[in-house]
Symmetry: C2
Subunit: 292 residues, 2 copies
């Protein structure tokens, strides 16, 4: 059984990107510059953005963090987005989600210039991804595909069962897994809250990608021996033994599933670190004007 | 067993649209105006465009047909597209595909104003569809969903197997079937040319949507008794007994499959006529500025 080490893979990728950036800078080109807009003080968002800023340093990028309080208006946020769109120094940027309820997230996302949308959330990038055209792939699905590629996990003709149909993981990773590409070319089944027989379907899977956000949902009796398990879940579960008061729990009952599968991603240290790598890769592509 | 009559359903829908148009015109609003750009003399394309022009008449729309020979340049075509984008009289338009090989189809599609893209092929509309946002749904998938709705075929929690992963049918209809909507909420499996065990998977299906373009591919031994069969195939097969020299063949072995399923679409007269209805519906939505 292989433990898919997302942390080590992410470190390797960031080193590759740093080398590319060093070569760019040596050739007189500008450093890639990523900006992040962070609204309010959500604990998860604070952590993610801090990790992204740190990853920028590791990759040799310039980074800018724009903070606003939770009472920022939609108009103010749209003005910030317009400014970032117009600023030639900024290669790409993200608006950290979720946003406060009084702000229309989709209106903000639609306002982002698709050529700077390194999160890959704009409808143009989502549509291009679906059509198999060059685009900024959204970070988590891209990270999963990169892990499968680097661990040489065969996908062609395999049955991949995706649990969850979210816009940021389930649907895009299903699309990438079925695409005419390697990794890809898998038969894909998407299960969700309306699926009555998830266990029966999972038992047929060569690859399970679990993205439901339900700690320990995938149990050993749902997994075919030898299957590959990709666990996208990262739910904060209260844990008094931790200094932070919580631990991250995946969607998979790791202790009991790991012994029967052929490869598995742990939580933390699996898909999570790869997500930030995808964002760094997209920012480098944006700086190179490789797509738009 | 129910034969799903796409022709009768399409006639009813066109009558509904015609009534809405009559009410619009009576209220002093303009008639919806659909333009179609037809390049060359491909037999299939000629037929489709002729049907679309006729459907416009039935719905009370104004229609404009712009014809160019197969040696038209990409630049000339882009100029026509720019003209249609700018023309306030035109509510929506289509560029009939396929285009000659020397023209980059995606470049033409990307040039279409998404708010006039009544075929739903522009990445913005594809992305919005995937995200579950208001958009022009591409015609064939929308027609399939409408047939399921009008025939009250339950989809929630059903296992829908889609055969084919094309950009215009397989991928979008899979997305619509899994979406949080009714019809929708189905567990969806997408099979394609790299799937080794299509028969085994089809035997689990409550609903099969066949869009491979392989005449008679779905045989009776692949169908669970009581399943619903949607046949999207329309391949021209040589037939000396026909005046035209060919007949349209679906992807399903209709004669042997029909007796064991609960509902089935014939070819012709099933999904085909619904496709044009979806285009008419989109054109009316465009005229009403209902989406953009």
């Amino acid at each position: 059984m292989t433990i898919i080490d997302g942390k080590a893979t992410a470190t390797a990728i960031k080193q590759e990107i740093a080398a590319e950036v060093a070569a760019r800078v040596a050739a007189g080109k500008k450093r890639p510059h990523l900006a992040a807009v962070l609204v309010g003080h959500d604990g998860g968002s604070e952590t993610y953005v801090a990790h992204k800023v740190k990853a920028c340093e590791e990759c040799g990028f310039t980074s800018t963090l724009i903070r606003r309080e939770a009472d920022v208006t939609e108009a103010e946020l749209l003005e910030i987005v317009a400014g970032l769109n117009a600023d030639p120094e900024i290669d790409g940027y993200i608006v950290q989600l979720p946003l406060p309820r009084h702000i229309d997230e989709q209106a903000i996302i639609r306002a982002i210039d698709p050529s700077k949308d390194v999160d890959g959330f704009h409808p143009v990038n989502v549509g291009r991804m679906s059509l198999g055209l060059p685009c900024f792939l959204s970070a988590t699905p891209a990270g999963i595909i990169e892990l499968l590629r680097r661990y040489d996990i065969p996908t062609r003709g395999k049955h991949c069962v995706v649990l969850g149909r979210s816009n940021i993981v389930g649907k895009p990773v299903a699309t990438l897994m079925m695409q005419k590409a390697e990794p890809g070319n898998a038969t894909v089944t998407i299960c969700h809250s309306s699926t009555p027989n998830i266990k029966e379907i999972c038992l047929q899977a060569d690859i399970i990608i679990a993205a439901l956000g339900q700690p320990g949902f995938v149990t050993a009796d749902m997994v075919k021996p030898g299957a590959v398990i990709i666990d996208v879940g990262t739910t904060r579960v209260p844990d008094a033994t931790k200094k932070s008061g919580f631990r991250l729990s995946g969607d998979v009952d790791y202790a009991n599933v790991a012994p029967i599968c052929s490869a598995i991603t742990p939580v933390p240290g699996g898909v999570g670190p790869m997500t930030i790598c995808s964002l760094m890769r997209n920012t480098l592509l944006a700086a190179e004007k490789a797509l738009y």
